[in-house]
């Protein structure tokens, strides 16, 4: 599990701020036509303003909802499937080739097909995002289930617990740190695909749609501002999930790193 400490966070912030200052100075000194490509300060200002812009907020809420649904659906499909495939060897053997075939197919390449399949744009976006986000959760869950100590399972069996209890009380909690990592990766992937499908397939609402409209109006400041907000949201989600993992799975870190 990645661990962020105060010092490295500070250094990252200083680095980012330094780069922004250099870009701002270059823009002001006439390194490019700031009518076309706006200054850093302008973009950051726009990004701040967007957070209070009702039109953008409608789009943001739409994207957020799509993303949340996609992630929930991903978890609801991939975790049970991963538990099953991880525990039942023959099932995994049977399905493995299919997984290896489907996994490398870029989700974006499926967008034209999915557009034809769904009349509702939200359903289309969710499908595309779920398709991409499914794999990290599925693969991590299978791996996590495999990693559960056989003796931990045997212990519960020896006390007379049945397979369902063993799955629920040992396999699930034992695999949980891996599943959580998969979900964290899936959360980022889903953000990318929700916005991408909005950009490619269009629609009425969505941050991707907002960006497209800003582009057609030649508003690079709004485009980049909105893009920055998407990026910041990704960082925020990741940080929250990492913090959650560190809190919940202290036992796992202690075991794998030998420290508390």
């Amino acid at each position: 599990m990645p661990k962020v400490n105060g010092a490295s966070l500070l250094r990252g912030l200083i680095g980012t701020a330094g780069l922004l200052v250099v870009l701002e100075a270059a823009g002001r000194l006439g390194a490019w036509d700031t009518e076309r490509l706006p200054l850093v300060s302008t973009v950051l200002l726009r990004a701040g303003e967007l957070l209070a812009d009702p039109e953008f907020l409608v789009s943001a809420r739409s994207s957020l909802t799509t993303w949340a649904f996609a992630l929930a659906l991903t978890i609801a499909i991939a975790v049970p499937a991963g538990l099953l495939l991880g525990m039942v060897r023959p099932a995994e053997v049977a399905v493995r080739p299919l997984i290896e075939f489907l996994r490398p197919i870029p989700s974006v390449a499926l967008i034209p097909l999915v557009i034809l399949m769904f009349s509702e744009t939200t359903h289309m976006r969710i499908t595309v995002a779920v398709y991409a986000a499914l794999w990290p959760v599925l693969v991590n869950t299978i791996y996590g289930v495999r990693d559960v100590d056989p003796l931990a399972k045997e212990t519960l069996r020896s006390f007379g617990f049945g397979p369902a209890s063993v799955a629920y009380r040992v396999v699930l909690p034992g695999a949980a740190p891996f599943i959580a990592t998969g979900i964290r990766l899936a959360a980022s992937v889903a953000i990318v695909l929700v916005v991408t499908s909005e950009l490619i397939a269009g629609g009425i609402e969505g941050v991707g749609v907002y960006i497209t409209i800003a582009a057609s109006g030649n508003r690079l400041d709004l485009m980049i501002g909105a893009t920055i907000l998407v990026g910041l949201f990704g960082i925020l989600v990741n940080a929250v999930l990492v913090a959650g993992e560190n809190r919940l799975f202290r036992w796992h870190r202690a075991r794998t790193e030998g420290v508390t």
């Binding site: 100590d149 045997e154 020896s158 006390f159 007379g160 617990f161 009380r169 799975f249 036992w251 508390t260």
Partner: protein
């Protein structure tokens, strides 16, 4: 209550145990000693229904064992791997008590009591990875004792504690089991321990393990760590078990046991 008939097990082509025959009566404490790698853990796993032996049968109360029997608890040799790192010591000990149909309060009270008996009442909230090896081992003993099984299987349960704690745990186990009428099968490397704890000592040969000695321990009870170990009968029996474990044929002369021969 427990009967092994011609029990044998192969790992692939490797024969781990061979034709083990053993009968254990209700309430008896039977110690199994044997050299490392002779198949003691394999024997215990077969009884617990965790592996399906490739030959012979395990009978519990006259019925063949299929899967894990009811009312059985195991203290595993790898105690640290058999504890759940995501649970506190208390939660680890109370988990199996769900099988007893107790509510949460009763489970925790029973678990707390067991932890107290093994001297860990202060560490109930600790996680296994915050504990020393000896403490973890005591948690796994507490878990088995709290469960109050009819048959308790213990695989070298006192290996990681200091000598004095070990003696205390031996006495505790005997006391608790006698109180609840449990039957115990205890595996140990320690010849002294087998004679002190057991009503009977069963000796397994080098691999593939098979029974080469089955000695009743007739010592005046109740056992006491100092006095019992001083008794002439104890010393003699210990020597006899020691010879059997080392594969030295006991040699009886007119003075009893003594001269070692090959």
């Amino acid at each position: 209550m427990l009967e092994l008939v011609d029990l044998g097990h192969n790992y692939g082509s490797y024969r781990a145990i061979d034709r083990v025959n053993l009968k254990v009566a209700q309430g008896e404490v039977v110690c199994i000693v044997g050299p490392s790698g002779c198949g003691k853990s394999t024997l215990l796993r077969s009884i617990a229904g965790l592996i399906k032996p490739t030959g012979g049968t395990v009978l519990l109360d006259g019925k063949p064992v299929d899967g894990s029997p009811e009312n059985l608890a195991v203290v595993f040799q790898d105690y640290s791997r058999s504890l759940y790192p995501w649970m506190s010591a208390l939660a680890n000990v109370s988990l199996p008590l769900r099988r007893r149909g107790l509510d949460k309060k009763k489970r925790e009270a029973a678990a707390m009591n067991a932890l107290d008996q093994v001297g860990l009442s202060g560490a109930a909230a600790k996680y296994p990875w915050e504990m020393s090896g000896g403490m973890q081992q005591r948690v796994s003993i507490a878990r088995a004792l709290a469960y109050q099984p009819k048959l308790l299987l213990m695989d070298e349960p006192f290996g990681s504690v200091d000598a004095q704690t070990r003696e205390e745990l031996e006495d505790l186990t005997l006391r608790v089991c006698a109180h609840h009428g449990m039957t115990i099968l205890l595996i140990t490397h320690d010849v002294d321990e087998s004679v002190y704890v057991g009503d009977r000592v069963v000796v397994l040969s080098k691999a593939p393990g098979t029974v080469v000695g089955d000695l009743p321990v007739q010592l005046p009870g109740p056992r006491d760590q100092i006095h019992t170990r001083e008794l002439e009968a104890f010393v003699r029996l210990r020597a006899e078990v020691g010879r059997l474990v080392r594969g030295i044929t006991p040699y009886r002369n007119t003075h009893g046991y003594g001269v070692e021969t090959r």
